[in-house]
């Protein structure tokens, strides 16, 4: 439980850095650290499978994709990218407070039970029985989208 608090504090620090830093490369690097800590949170909840998926897909895939697209398009030199607007900040604070108020009012205290451990064998059994169709569909959609993305970026030769 102690290590989980360390990860929680690191997550809060890194996420705040990702808002208030002014260099887009540093923001993406703080996101990498954040996803790394999030994977450890999953692992400390005995969900090693989700932790590894988080490491491979989100940290190794999504964030590196964001980093590459920033570097490919020279966005780190674009001053408009990190433009801050006081009016937007006010609107964002109001919206965030509103949503926080709604969520805090609806905390389901009465439904809480003890934590259970869900072993990996149960999860894999679910994936290859109840969710087999969804699993295959997701893999086809991912493949299709990757082909579409490459075609879009490279362009179709006529």
């Amino acid at each position: 439980m102690g290590s989980m608090f360390v990860f929680l504090i690191l997550i809060i620090i890194l996420s705040l850095l990702s808002i208030f830093l002014n260099n887009i490369i540093y923001i993406v690097l703080s996101l990498i650290g954040l996803f790394f800590n999030l994977a450890f949170i999953y692992m400390s909840l005995d969900l090693e499978f989700l932790g590894i998926v988080q490491l491979m897909v989100n940290m190794g895939g999504v964030v590196v994709l964001i980093l590459f697209s920033i570097l490919l398009t020279d966005q780190e030199k674009n001053p408009k990218l990190l433009k801050k607007n006081k009016k937007n900040y006010l609107l964002a604070t109001i919206a965030t407070s509103f949503f926080l108020f709604i969520i805090m009012k609806s905390i389901p205290e009465h439904t809480l039970k003890e934590k259970v451990e869900i072993p990996l064998t149960v999860l894999t059994k679910y994936l290859i029985t109840n969710f087999l169709l969804s699993f295959e569909l997701a893999s086809f959609v991912l493949l299709g989208v990757l082909i579409l993305a490459v075609t879009l970026v490279r362009g179709v030769k006529s």
């Binding site: 909840l45 499978f49 999504v62 964002a92 809480l112 934590k115 869900i118 109840n130």
Partner: protein, 95 residues
């Protein structure tokens, strides 16, 4: 309960970034935060409330859909940027 609060924190952070920083890359990062919030909430309910592994399987699919969203969004971004380099007056609505 920590996970629930962490999920709430990520949700509010995602909403804050979405409204405060209007650039495309920052909006994508805000969407990542909102997706993290949803996954944490599913894990929380799966482990502490319903005791059902379906929430964790759904989390796996959500992470996968997040990757699909990022790949497609960033390819649009790169394409738009290369078109903008050809035509400086281009705006997003033209595509």
């Amino acid at each position: 309960m920590n996970i629930f609060y962490l999920s709430t924190y990520f949700f509010s952070l995602g909403i804050f970034i979405f409204f405060a920083r209007t650039s495309f890359i920052m909006m994508l990062i805000a969407l990542e935060f909102l997706i993290i919030s949803a996954t944490l909430l599913l894990v929380y309910f799966s482990l502490y409330v319903t005791h059902n592994p379906e929430g964790i399987v759904a989390t796996f699919f959500i992470i996968l859909i997040g990757a699909i969203k990022a790949a497609l969004g960033l390819s649009f971004f790169i394409k738009f940027n290369s078109l903008k380099n050809e035509d400086q007056n281009l705006i997003l609505e033209d595509i």
